[in-house]
Amino acid sequence: MIRQIIYKEILENLLSLRFILSLLLAVLLFAAAGFVFTAKYRQESQDYWKDTNENLSSLSEQTKRLCDVALYEQTVYRKPKPLALCTDGFEKYFPNYVRFNIFSMYIPGVKSRGNFDLGRFSDMDLVFIISLILSFIALIFTYDTICGEKEAGTLRLMLATSIHRHKILIGKYVGVMFTLGIPVLLGLLVTLLIVISSRDVVISAGDWLKILTIVLLSFLYLSIFVLLGLFVSSRTAHSANSMVILLLAWVGLVILIPSFGRIISDAAFESPTQAELQRKLTEVGKKIEDDRASGKFGKNADSFGFKVKNPPGTAQMMNAQTEARNQVREFHLNKMIAPLIFGRSFTRLSPTVIYQCASEAIAGIGITRFKSLYQQVKRYQADLKEYVRGKDAEDPESLHLLCAHNQAIKDWGVISKRSVSFDTIPKFQERDLALGQSLKLAIWDIGLLVLFNLVFFAASYVSFLKYDVR
């Protein structure tokens, strides 16, 4: 019996105007997203490889002297990902490069075309289309499932037979999900065809799995709205009223709650300014200088301009200084990110934000990706330092005091000046998280999505059981 209900629902939906409209809209948007993504990806890849190769070639020029390798400021760029097709994760607002040498780490910056953004236009990726357009379509499909049939008088007939109410509800749910699946899957197919046929984008096996996970997640998300529609539809007597409530609920969940992020984080955190950063950097410099004056680094640990009598002390002081500055910069960076994460957690009241966060985590894009890139660069910096230390130890002429002090290196050779082979230098390679690890990151969000589903399912079930057909 339940199969018959599903079958009837699907057929009825397929023949409706709304289905044709949603199919058209979804396929058009998905196709546009595919074209736009390929063009963007091509451009970004070009820029990325150009910048990265430039960095490596400059690094190879430094190999004549080990100390130059140590002092050379490398720039690591963020690699464009094929999975940005699914979700862009607002990456254009996040830094796309990190500059560092083995001693110092600088605040990551943004280098792009149109760096100075006038905003308002967000990127239309798959997650965006699904979270805004398809959730809306889900409501259009469900607003009259129960009350519409009541108005038409068919619900009475159906309930007069021996079918259980829960079977009707489940039948309707499955039917709508199935109809909704057609535009989603068809659109996805179109996008993927466009993307693959362009040959610019190579999607690896791991990426395919992640795309599949995001698609499953999308259905989990859309199911919330289908259930919400069923719930409201079984609480109201007229489909017009049901539509009003659903529209307002949609506006609240999808548009209003996510918009509160900025103002919440503005209220909770003070944004750090560039001037503050500069002031703190000077402050720590002064503090180290005071430490030197009080003899913390031994006698004569002078830094500039004088003949150095105490190389280990000077090196120690220089390292203390770079370390303190690194800490200040990292603190500043964390202070910039903190309001972001706070605002996002707050706006997780909305399933849209949860869905976006979860797909970003799975695709490895967005804030989490930026944070992990930064950590990876830091690890690489440590590796490179170890490498320099190891090479330096082989040179008997060096004083074996790694410190970022031009004069110290030039005049009294604290770091080896021997040449090194470019091939032996470790190179930076960004690692993607495996699907399992990404899922672990997204587990809370997925749990919340499931919870939303359960709550709305229970609510619609109870409401439908109590529904008065008269």
Binding site: Y93, N115, G119, S259, L340
Partner: protein, 530 residues
Amino acid sequence: MYDKDKKERKYHILWKIAKKEFLLNLMTFKFAVGTIVCVVLTAVFMPVLVSDYQERLKQYNDAFAANEAELRKVKVYKNITPMIYRPPNVLSVFSEGLEKRLGYSAKIELDNVPELSAVSTGLNPYLSIYPVLDVSLVFKIVMSVLALLVAYDVIAGERERGTLKLVLSGTVARYQVLAGKFLAGLATLVIPLTMAFIVGVLIFEFFPLVDLAGSDWVRIGLMYLASLIFLSAMYNVGLLFSCLAKRSAISLVLGLFIWIVCVVVIPNGSGYLARKIQPLEPEERLESELKLVAENRDRELKEINKNIPPGWSSSTAGGAFNRSYYLVLDKRGLEYWKKSSVLKEPVRIKYADKFLEVKQKHLSNLFKQKYLANNFSRTSPISLFENIMSALAGTDLDRAQYFMDRVRMHRNSVVAYVRSKTADFSSLSYFTRCKEGDWEEGQKILEPAVDATNEAERKRVLDAFYKWRDKKAAETPALNLQDFPQFIYQPSVVRSFSRAIPDLALLTFISVLFFVLSFVAFMRYDVRSD
């Protein structure tokens, strides 16, 4: 006499239809829910947004006061590098626009002309990921849905119920029916709109620190009018579908699809299209051009340097705006800096304009893209409304450019001021306040240190010198900047309004167009068809 009667009757009937429709609307569920939601949302948004504004205002006042205090401490003309802060806009509460995306401050310097892209650096760029939150969000999303919901069944619903046949079988003309329904719809929508505006303005009163100037009231009034036109446009869109569709359900679905396209697809898609048609140059291009200009400048400065005899000594002191100045200089130093300032500063000023030229060329590309995107998005009434609101609130790009224009004018007058005060940089007060003989006085104190035999003796002499230096620095009076040019920033309502006029006209046109289209559709409607 008969004619007059007829005319009166005509209006009488129109009025009757409007009244009936209006009263029916008032009793609907959608009206009740829509109105309550609008008012409640405004009541929730406003305090949050106004207190956010108040916080920004406080920050502005603090920064402004700190800057003024620094300005009073300036001792040499070279150190006059004040910051200019943009006062936060009270009406950003209604329409945020670019208010939080563009920076608040610009630095006035001799060798640099501030540019729009440079002022955004003071903000936390990551926060741009959040969508904009302002009161017009309530109008443009909730009210537009409400307009569609009110409109979707005005004709189609009566068709379904069969009452339309009855109405048309009377002596009423069709245009009267449609006009009556339009008036009724508008009257219905005016209620939540007015209530939301009243609630919004009332909440301002709870914040005593925030006051609205007369021009702000004019702006709010204009915003109210614009919202009205917007709502009538959205209502007429719904009306057209209601006239076209046989069943109200279809009319609703069509209306909602158009709505989602207008709200989400067009505003976001137009950015894409514009980026595709008007791509931006890579940042490196700008950087390399700037580098070229900088190289030229440095070469020119080096050339000048060759003609000035070097080799001088000085002692510096910390000054205002975190810049040090020469406390005392020896004779050669005075000579050197006098010559160098007279010759070099005009070159620096000249190159500042060249830098600006390069940057503006790059920026104009970006603006072209932005304007193109804006033009594409004008196909959606919601984007039009957004444009109008931000123009009226003064949070649009035009206002940001106006601010920058003002800052540049101010910079020019500061440069002219410094020039006139220092006789084209030839006066010593441009870089130092020391008098002849000051240097020798300091040297005399320092002299014994050269012959000092032991460390303690040396230290004593040095301490004496430092003491003298500090005293000298404290004694140096600050410059008298009584006639320092004031920064003038007075945005005018007329300018904002004239910016909003094209969009307002277009929105009115859309509204009329859709009404005419629905009229045509309604005229063609065959009563026998259902």
